[in-house]
Point group: C2
């Protein structure tokens, strides 16, 4: 795999000087087109063996292009804010918006590689992590990102020479650290694991380009041209209308039976029993949130449901039980323009809670497969892939000891009509019924279909959906509280 | 000052029960009006003596209002990302956007109070810090924020009783910490310093309301009503057109002499000398950025100047000398909608560098007193107050060991015309001259006037403006590099 990058590639000074001006011009040109059209974000990874010139290369790229529209990230130690979120959080928050370039030295590949070489994760786990990376990068590409991955390679001899020559020069001595020599001793291990990693993660959407690192001019020109050509090609490509439907249509079961029909919406709780249970479960939830081990986990509660199903009321019964210092309610409305310039899930990542905290989502990332699907706000392909992306997202949360509880609050069509009419009668603006609400109501069967698909495709063992019979508000609120308590008890080992 | 809050205020259960429903309705009503109109942000501080019920009160407020549009912040220990920025950074990033409420337990008052009581800052420094707080809050109010500050008070006897009764009850025992008892021993000191602090910071825009804390019902109703009434009053107030001009008009000196005229725009550097000096100063800058003590400071470089004065080129000569991992160029264009919903300076605070890093601003917070002033994008009052706000902002940076270097790149009208024409001839889109550029040019005297005022009012000892004669690009670039090096040397103690 590295053979071609050990041939001793070299570029003469004369050829380099002749090539650079045009390349710079073309790079700048592409960069400005990108900035003006804001068509897509560009994510450039510069990885490879130690001292193969990653930093120098990134400096040259910043010199050749307009550094005002490049964000360079050299992510090393986790800050404590990063440490308390899933590992990918730091990369999500560093993603470049559409129109800009983000260059990463040290990326999501660093830890899997190091951990495997140092033996802290076995090959099976490495493969698992690489598989997740592939899915992550595929999602980015599906969201429109251009990902360019460069691996700077040095043969063992070359690396040794390079370390020694850097050490000899007083101006560069600081660049060689003990870690570099330690890594050099592990060269063969690094070689083996890198190869496995590169092979596994060289996908059609985001292939690796391996570049011999020993000759700077060769390295700069190769990478510069690759970036320039990829950018230009992508900029000039005709906009493919994102409506290809290579998927079989999703249909309801032929006999018309579906999961929402299994709900007994007549379930009720009398007022006196409700008052009792409310006190009981709110007290319980309060205690659980102050459990010493709660500091080691976090909690994410998702509320989805029919319009007027009582999400707001249910959320209030939950927050009443909690110390306001611990929770944050994220009320999901239209994305801001900063959110629109990022992949779909970005605006949810930014609300993830720290350890010992909880976030309640009033509507959530499921909007993609509900309202956006039904109203045609995104393409068939977009919402079809969202199921997998959402499952991946939630899996990351769970792996990071986040407890996820997802509620679908279901009311019958009749009950919804009753509530709409009541709200219009009260006329109190906080309950104002909009034209949208009535329109959505007309699409009831479509929404029902979307909800059933959502449950089928995203109710997983680690993050199951809880369907709440919500025709009776008392019953629904108690079921919500009880469910959160049960999930928490289990997570805290108190069940 | 605390006399009225030691009278033993009490509310009967019956009266409370009678009052609460209407209050909640009115609070919710106001909150929804706020959310829908997005007129202003609401900043609520809940401060006061230990165990006076701050947490409980915040919980009640979240219960009474819609918690989906309230952000509660209990800021205690600094995260390491906060630690590496000026102290106010953590509050800036927690500010609520227009339309929302932000409740702070533990605010910018916490440290001055604690530090003075524990003797780590003297009264003079306390007063200085309070003065800065007043200026900060005034700026927030001028930007439209509604600030409501509540101080929960307990007499010494009441606090003792409260601590003991909390300790007695197994359900609340956890709330009393050693620190609480330690603070209780310092009650008289806290009392004295709090009084000084409240007196000094009770301003017309943001007065304190002192509330007796011993009776929860009294406390909740008092604070709830105060919030409701303030919100309602502010929501119903007619929009005051923000164009009052209580300031004397700023005029140019009667003899027409001004600071920009003192520049000798004929200054030049020949190509050969330029090449030599470029290498010398870039080398120097590179060394300085790798100086061990550089890790303890940060660097902010601001570029302002006439259109086509060569800002981009100068910035590139600076970044060329630096490791791309250390710097970030913030290119200031139109604010995003998230930025628009915040005070003016918010979008610059978010780009502040960590220790050991540098941020280069291609245009900056000075837009307020340049383009926004001249084009009438903000009111006279807005840009007039901006001078002071900017000085305060930069002072905070300097106090946090940030080196600030500010450049004004000046070209003559003739030279600008020459460059505009050249750019139109090249036709290469990256240099496209827009109609705006030509329009701005017609306003040359107005811009000149604004620049002179800016220099007069914001060139301070700690953060002076450096005027750069930029008719000759070589000369300008070397002056920029040299100046940055000199400032850095001084800061690193290498001068």
């Amino acid at each position: 795999m590295f053979e071609s990058a050990e041939l001793g590639h070299k570029i003469t000074k004369a050829f380099y000087r002749q090539q650079v001006p045009d390349l710079r011009e073309a790079l700048l040109d592409a960069q400005i087109d990108l900035l003006q059209t804001r068509k897509f974000p560009v994510i450039i990874l510069i990885a490879g063996v130690d001292c193969a010139g990653k930093g120098e290369t990134v400096n040259i790229l910043n010199e050749w292009m307009d550094p005002r529209h490049i964000e360079t990230h050299a992510l090393r130690d986790l800050t404590d804010e990063e440490f308390e979120r899933p590992p990918m959080w730091r990369y999500w928050r560093a993603l470049p918006p559409k129109g800009k370039l983000g260059i990463f030295i040290g990326s999501w590949y660093s830890n899997p590689l190091l951990d495997n070489v140092h033996g802290s994760i076995k090959n099976a786990e490495l493969d698992q992590q690489l598989e997740r990376i592939i899915r992550f990068e595929k999602m980015l590409c599906d969201e429109g990102a251009l990902i360019l991955k460069f691996w700077l390679h040095l043969s063992k001899d070359q690396q040794k020479k390079r370390l020694k020559s850097l050490e000899k020069d007083p101006a560069t001595r600081w660049r060689v650290t003990d870690t570099d020599w330690k890594h050099f001793k592990l060269y063969d291990d690094f070689h083996r694991v890198s190869e496995r990693m590169l092979r596994a993660t060289s996908t059609a959407e985001a292939p690796w380009l391996i570049v011999e690192g020993s000759d700077p001019r060769y390295r700069y020109l190769t990478i510069g041209k690759a970036i320039q050509m990829s950018l230009r090609q992508r900029l000039d490509a005709p906009e493919v209308p994102n409506v290809v439907e290579p998927f079989p249509p999703i249909t309801m079961a032929i006999d018309g039976l579906h999961i929402l029909q299994t709900l007994d919406l007549k379930k009720k709780l009398e007022k006196t029993q409700y008052d009792e249970e409310l006190e009981k479960w709110q007290g319980k939830l309060n205690l659980l949130s102050r459990h010493p081990r709660f500091k080691k986990i976090s909690l994410v509660v998702v509320f989805e449901g029919n319009d007027a199903a009582g999400k707001g009321g249910a959320i209030r019964r939950v927050t009443q039980a909690l110390d306001a210092r611990l929770y944050r309610v994220a009320s999901i409305a239209n994305p801001t323009d900063e959110e629109k310039s990022q992949p779909y899930l970005w605006r949810f990542w930014r609300h993830l809670p720290r350890k010992g905290r909880l976030a309640i989502f009033d509507r959530s990332w499921y909007g993609r497969v509900l309202v956006e699907r039904v109203e045609g706000f995104c393409s068939h392909a977009d919402w079809m892939r969202a199921y997998g992306e959402i499952n991946d997202f939630e899996e990351q949360l769970v792996r990071h000891h986040t407890v996820i509880v997802k509620f679908w609050l279901a009311v019958s069509q009749d009950e919804q009509l009753k509530r709409f009419n009541e709200r219009e009668k009260i006329g109190f603006k906080r309950f104002k019924i909009t034209d949208d609400d009535w329109r959505n109501r007309e699409k009831w069967p479509h929404y029902e279909h979307a909800v059933c698909d959502m449950i089928d495709r995203t109710s997983t063992e680690i993050s199951p959906w809880v369907l709440v019979e919500a025709n009776d508000k008392h019953y629904a609120r108690i079921k919500v509280l009880k469910t959160i308590c049960r999930h928490l008890e289990e997570a805290l080992g108190e069940a």
